[in-house]
Each structure stands twice: as C-alpha cells, then as structure tokens.
C-alpha cells in the first residue's frame, strides 16, 4: 500500500503541488510502483498457501467441504464494490466530481464491509455445522485462506475510508495517484477473492 496514505496530507501534498508536474509525476510513479510490488508480494504469499493446499490434498484424509452458500453473496458484494469504485473513478474525471466520487467510495466501503461481515457469517455457519479450524485439513485451509484474505481486505477498507474522507481536501494532482493506488489494491482484493473461491471450490 502506498505510503501516501500515511503521509500527513498538509505538508507533503502542498509542497508537491507547488512543484512542476514532472516532479509530481515522479512521486506518483513511485507510489504506483510501490503498490504493484506490494500486490506481487501478496500474490506470492497466496501462491505459497495454494501450493501447500495442493500438496496437502494428496494425503489420504482429504474429505469434501461444502462451502457455505453465503460465500457467493459475498462474492457479489465484493465485485459490486469494484464496480462502484470504477464509477467513482469516472466521477472523479468530471469537473466538480470530487463530491460524488467520495459518495461512490463510501458505497464501495459499505459493500466491502458487507463482504467482511458476510465472511464472518460464513464462518459462523461452518461453526454451526461443527466445522472448526482443526476439524479436517479442508476446513483448516478454508479458514486460513479466507482469514488471510479478509485481513488484507480490512487493510484495503481503511485505505478506502481514508481516501473517501480526504478526497475533497487533497490537491488535484495528488488525488488521482492516491485513488489509482487504492483502486489497484482494491481490485486486486476482488480478483484474489474470485481466485480463492474457485480454488476452494475445486480443491476443497
């Protein structure tokens, strides 16, 4: 995630806004490299989890886990949140778009929170069936994968909250780069969830 999220918006943003565009470009490019590198690292982590899953599946005690149907509703939520984020981007491009963009971001945030809450409910559903973390290897992987994903989604949620809250106060040049980085991360979270869902369906 970009460090611009943590930077106090007053000093650096204003300092940069006064600089020529080429310097701002460098700042934007730098934070954008950062987010892609971060996405790459997270991908590698989940690749490790996936390969552990595939290896583990080869052992004898592999049973079949029925995925809670709530997961599909959660998928709709997170994909919808990606859509609303894109609508926010479109709003941002318009002249006085910051206000409606912030509104769309708020909606993205709500859908993201609905996703997280839905994941929690899905875990409760499994618990009600007596399926816990250590019950069988399938459930272990399910909980670990969904938990790790949810943890990263929570980080994304805080980024979205910050973005929505601060969007109007930011200078324009800065706005776009922070938005870009948050969007890259958020879409990645959605894509990662789809991958994890398919992985769980296929392997668990």
């Amino acid at each position: 995630m970009s460090s611009t999220i943590a930077t106090p918006i007053g000093s650096r943003a204003n300092a940069l806004a006064e600089k020529p565009d080429s310097v701002v470009l460098a700042a934007r490019r730098s934070s954008s490299s950062g987010i892609w590198v971060g996405v790459f690292a997270i991908t590698m982590s989940f690749a490790a989890f996936s390969s552990a899953l595939v290896v583990r599946e080869g052992t004898t005690d592999w049973s079949h886990l029925v995925l809670p149907p709530l997961l599909y509703l959660n998928t709709v939520f997170i994909l919808a949140s990606s859509l609303t984020l894109e609508l926010s981007r479109r709003a941002l491009r318009e002249a006085a778009g910051a206000r409606s963009a912030a509104g769309w971001i708020g909606l993205t945030l709500l859908l993201g929170m609905a996703f997280c809450f839905g994941q929690y409910r899905a875990w409760l559903d499994l618990r009600a069936q007596g399926i816990y973390l250590a019950t069988n290897p399938n459930s272990s992987f399910f909980y670990v994968l969904t938990f790790m994903h949810a943890l990263h989604v929570l980080a994304g949620l805080s980024a979205l909250a910050y973005l929505g809250y601060r969007l109007r106060a930011m200078p324009k040049a800065f706005r776009r780069s922070i938005f870009e980085n948050t969007a890259i991360y958020w879409h990645f979270m959605a894509a990662l969830w789809v991958y994890l869902l398919l992985l769980c369906r296929a392997e668990l």
Binding site: S3, R12, A15, A26, A27, R29, S51, P137, S140, M148
Partner: protein
C-alpha cells in the same frame, strides 16, 4: 520505467529533536546505521554462542562460567546439557542468517547508500522504511526472549523441520514456547523484510537522478536491487509457512504433522499432514535467502575492487547480468537441500540440474574479478584486502558446492560437517568479508572519520587465516563421516579426530577475539579517528560527491545530474586518474591505453 526519471521533491522535513533524529528517524542513513548496529549486536551474540558450542564439543564436561546464570535447566552447575547445545545451535543459526546476513549487507548498507548512489534524497517510502527497521527490531526482541523463558530456546535448528517443530513440548526442551517465539519472531521478520524490499525496488525504479540510467548504477546498487527482488518473493513464501507452523502448534491443525506419530511415548493428536511440505516451503525461501546474503557483498566487493584497482572491471554489464541470472536461478534449486528427504529421486535430478547451472554465473563473476585483477596495480588497504579475501572465501566455499549439488555425493555428505564447512565459508565468512570491506570503505563517509589502517590490516589477517583454520578442516571431517548438529561424539571412530576439533575450537576463539579489534576500531575511530576528506579513496560514485557525513537531505537540496557510468578510472580527469559520475567533464582515456 522511465530512464533517468526526475528527482522527487523532499519527502520529509529536516528532523527536529532527539527522538526524531536518532530513534524514530525517517532518514535512510540513520535507519541504515540502526540496522548495522542491530547486526553488530546479533553477530557478537551469535559468535559467543558458537564459542559455547565449540567449547562443549571438545570439553563436554567443562564448567562454563556464567552459563548457569543464563539457563539453570540448560546448564546445571555450568555444564551444558546436550539439549542446550542444540538450543544454542538453533539460536546461532537464526541470529546469524536472519539478523546478521540479511541485515548487514542488504538492509544496513543498502538503506544507507542506495538512495545516495542513485542521486535521491531518501527512499521512496521513508515511513515504511522506519517501520521496517523497528519491526525487525521487534522480531529480534521476540527471538531473544527465547533465551529467558524457563524452557529455553528451541532445539530444532534454524530450519525448524517439522514434525518435531510442530508438535510442541513433546519434542523436547524449548519446543513449547521457545519454538513458538521463533515462529512469531520470523513471521514478524518476514513482514519487515517485505516492507524493506518493496522500498528498495520502488526507490531504484523511480527515484534515480537525471542521467542515471539503470546501466549507469553502481554495481552495489544493482546487487541491492536484485537482492530486493529476490527478498520480495522469498519472504512472501516464508510468511505463510510460519503462519501454518504456528497454527499447527497452537490451533490443533495438521498442515505438517502426519497421523500416528508417537513422540516421547505420546501419540500426537494430529493427522494427515506432510512434514515434507514444510521443507519445500522453507527451502523455497531458504535458498534465495542465501543469495540474499551473498549478492550485496558481491556488489560491494566489485565496487571497492574497481576503486582499488583504479580501473573498471572487464565488463560491468556481464557482472550485472550474472547477478540477475543468479537471482533468477536461485528460485529453481531449493530441492538440493532435500535430496535425502525421501522425495522422488527424479525431483532430485530436476533440482540438481539448475544447481549446477547456477555455478555458471557465479563462476563468470569470479572470472571477471580475477581477470580484472590480472595486471592491475591494486592499492592495498583494509577495504581492498577484505575484498580480495571475499573472492578467496567465495571460491573456497563455492567449490564444495559442486559436490553437494550432485545427489549421489550428497546422500553421503548431507548433514555432515562438509555441508557446515561449505555454507560457513561461502555464506558466513564471504558475506561478512563483504560487510567488513564495506565498513572500512564507507566508514569515512558515514562518520567523517577514518578507521585505523593498522588495526584494519591486523583484523584482516587474523580473520582470513582464522576462518580458513576453522572451516577448512570441516570438509575433511565431513568426508570421514562427522555428523553435524551432534553435541559430542557418540561414535568411537571419531575419537582420533577430536584433536582436529580442538584445533578448530582454539582457532575459533582466537579469530573471535580478533573481531573485538574490529569493534574497538569501529567505536574508537567514530570518536577519535582522523578527520576524513570528502573523497578519501578518490572514488567516482555519487556518495563521494557529498560531505562526510552527508547532510539530512543527502545532496543539500540540489539535484545531481549524472553524465556517465560510475567506473571512470584510469582516465585523465581534472582531479586525478578518475572522473566523478556527476562531473560534466569529457572523459579522456589515459595515454598509453
């Protein structure tokens, strides 16, 4: 990425106040020094642990003073128990590999010099940088806590193989909370390293000064860049492995523990896990990790040798491509740590091939160094001595790798002292020589004072001769069947070779004592050393164009412009036989070339 991208505006205000300046600093230079200090503490701790191990090996019933104070269970009456030997061994390995060899050449020097060498004011993400150091520090604290819990540190080795590392206290002393602290510490370390690697990559790609194309970066910068790419992928795999291990230990899962396991006469309540899975995950990280340890030193040594020889290497491009190939190939060889693990022998063949292939770029590098040295008039100082010593140690340690890379021989040599000799020479000693070289070379820049050359040379000769005395016998011992990680000799056939071990122990004590000379030199020179000029080595890279020590924003607000590569030596420059990288003067080859 755009070549020669524009300099970013200053990323943070000048620091005010003690805490901001020296503790929670955003300045990459302070963070680099903090990493170096942490590595210094870790290396001396690790060294003392190795002394304790060596003393126990040759005099198992000796009373070691103060040891009982450290651990009543581990050393009742000052006499080390066999299990405590394994605890010390585990902590020695963990401290050295993670907190010394990943920290010192990469995080410490990289943080300090990468931004300056590319002409930037700081790293791309200074806050992440600060978090990265303090997270590493937190990981170190958690690890050291293992010494002070009643049960002691874990006994499973720095590789913490499952299932013994995953079952908990049944596996032995230190395997209850000790192993959990290890897992938590390393998981925290992974996060810290990922943040650091991210910073290095973003900085190198985006914050280069005008004219600083990728091919014009100094070789040590390239080494740090390739290392950070490797680190990003490697630590991203170790982190999940540690999470799964912690879950197996505390949440009753069975990722790594098979069914029906009986340990300490107790059936373990787990089923269906794969111990081999841990080895795969760990070594997928573990092999790139050793290249993370060695690549920065390769870069530092290349950088220093060029300066000392007063002429460029035969081909900097070849060195860069070799480092990149090593980085790439490092991901394909992890199974060579697992030839005897019971995995499919065809896999062993598949891993042996790239392992032998990776020797090619390593050999190319060595040939470039040696070829460049041939006929050169190298100036001898502490830094160049350690650089030459690096080549010696790297070759000496590396050639044993050719043997270990072949499954047929490795079946015999695995887990013997042959392996211990191999990795200590090629990773421990060589990498550390790179750190020493870098310290002697860059100390004037970091502190504004020169280190004592006499002490430096003395330090070199003691360490060079001492390291060979310690680790060369290990190859022989391994060949005759001396198993590693044994606290004493259980086989009669080893009894005649106890004399070798005594020799090694004494060499280790002397060599270790020599390191205190270095420590003294470091601390004394920091306060009382001769004031250093801006460019005491007549070097060309950008760090030598700024004051010693550098101001908080490196270049004092100006944006350097780079006109050529950093290895313009042996030419007719206005200041001598070199032209600095940011000097606009035309490069005129020296007459007689």
């Amino acid at each position: 990425m755009q070549e020669g991208s524009v300099q970013e505006a200053h990323v943070h205000a000048p620091p005010e106040g003690f805490i901001r300046k020296y503790v929670f600093s955003l300045d990459h230079k302070v963070i680099g020094k903090q990493y170096y200090a942490l590595a210094l503490v870790a290396v001396f701790t690790g060294m003392i642990l190795s002394w304790l191990m060596r003393l126990h090996m040759v005099w198992p019933n000796a009373k070691i003073p103060l040891l009982e104070m450290l651990s009543k269970n581990g050393a009742p009456g000052g006499i080390m128990t066999p299990e405590y030997y394994l605890s010390l061994l585990t902590m020695h390995g963990t401290l050295m590999v993670f907190f010394v060899l990943t920290n010192a050449p990469f995080a410490a020097f990289g943080n300090y010099f990468l931004p300056i060498q590319i002409g930037a004011e700081d790293m791309a993400f200074p806050r992440f940088n600060m978090m990265s150091f303090w997270t590493t520090f937190a990981a170190w604290v958690v690890l050291m806590l293992a010494f002070f819990i009643p049960d002691g540190p874990p006994i499973a080795g720095w590789t913490e193989y499952t299932p013994l590392s995953a079952v908990g206290k049944d596996a032995g002393p230190g395997m209850a909370w000790g192993a959990s602290l290890w897992g938590i510490s390393i998981a925290i370390f992974c996060v810290a390293s990922l943040l650091g690697a991210l910073n290095f990559i973003a900085t190198t790609l985006d914050l280069r000064a005008k004219g600083m194309t990728l091919m014009r970066m100094p070789l040590c910068t390239w080494a740090w860049f390739v290392t950070s790419c490797i680190a990003l992928l490697a630590f991203a795999v170790l982190f999940p492995a540690c999470i799964l291990l912690i879950l197996d230990r505390h949440a009753g899962t069975s990722f790594f523990i098979p069914s029906g396991l009986v340990i300490s006469d107790r059936v373990q309540p787990h089923a269906g896990g794969s111990p081999l899975l841990w080895q795969h995950l760990f070594w997928f990280f573990g092999h790139p990790e050793v290249y993370i340890a060695i690549l920065p030193s390769m870069g530092i040594v290349s950088h220093i040798l060029i300066n000392s020889m007063r002429k460029p290497l035969l081909s900097a491009k070849v060195v860069i491509y070799s480092m990149m190939s090593i980085g790439f190939l490092s991901y394909m060889v992890w199974g060579h740590h697992m030839f005897v693990s019971g995995m499919n022998p065809m896999s062993s063949l598949a891993f042996s091939f790239p392992t032998l292939t990776i020797t090619i770029p390593a050999t190319v590098l060595t040939l470039v160094w040696l070829g460049s040295l041939y006929g050169s008039n190298i100036q001898i100082n502490s830094a160049s001595l350690f650089s030459l010593g690096f080549i010696s140690m790297f070759v000496a340690g590396g050639v044993s790798g050719f043997f270990l890379a072949q499954p047929s021989i490795d079946i015999y040599l695995h887990a013997t002292y042959f392996v211990v000799g191999h990795f200590h020479l090629v990773m421990g000693v060589a990498s550390l020589f790179g750190v020493f070289a870098g310290t002697y070379f860059w100390f004037p820049k970091m502190t504004g004072r020169m280190m004592s050359e006499t002490l430096g040379k003395l330090h070199f000769w003691i360490t060079f001769i001492g390291a060979y005395c310690i680790f060369m016998p290990f190859h022989y011992l391994g060949l005759i069947g001396n198993v590693r990680r044994y606290q004493s000799f259980v086989d009669d056939f080893m009894a005649p070779y106890l004399g070798w071990h005594k020799f090694v122990t004494i060499a280790a004590l002397i060599t270790g004592a020599g390191q205190f000379l270095f420590l003294f030199n470091l601390i004394y020179s920091r306060f009382k050393g001769k004031p250093a000029p801006e460019n005491p080595w007549n070097a060309t890279s950008l760090e030598w164009s700024i004051p010693s020590p550098p101001p908080w924003n490196n270049f004092g607000g100006r944006h350097p412009i780079v006109y050529h590569d950093p290895y313009q030596y042996g030419v007719n420059g206005s200041k001598g036989d070199f032209v600095m990288q940011d000097s606009a003067e035309q490069v005129v080859p020296a007459s007689g070339d």
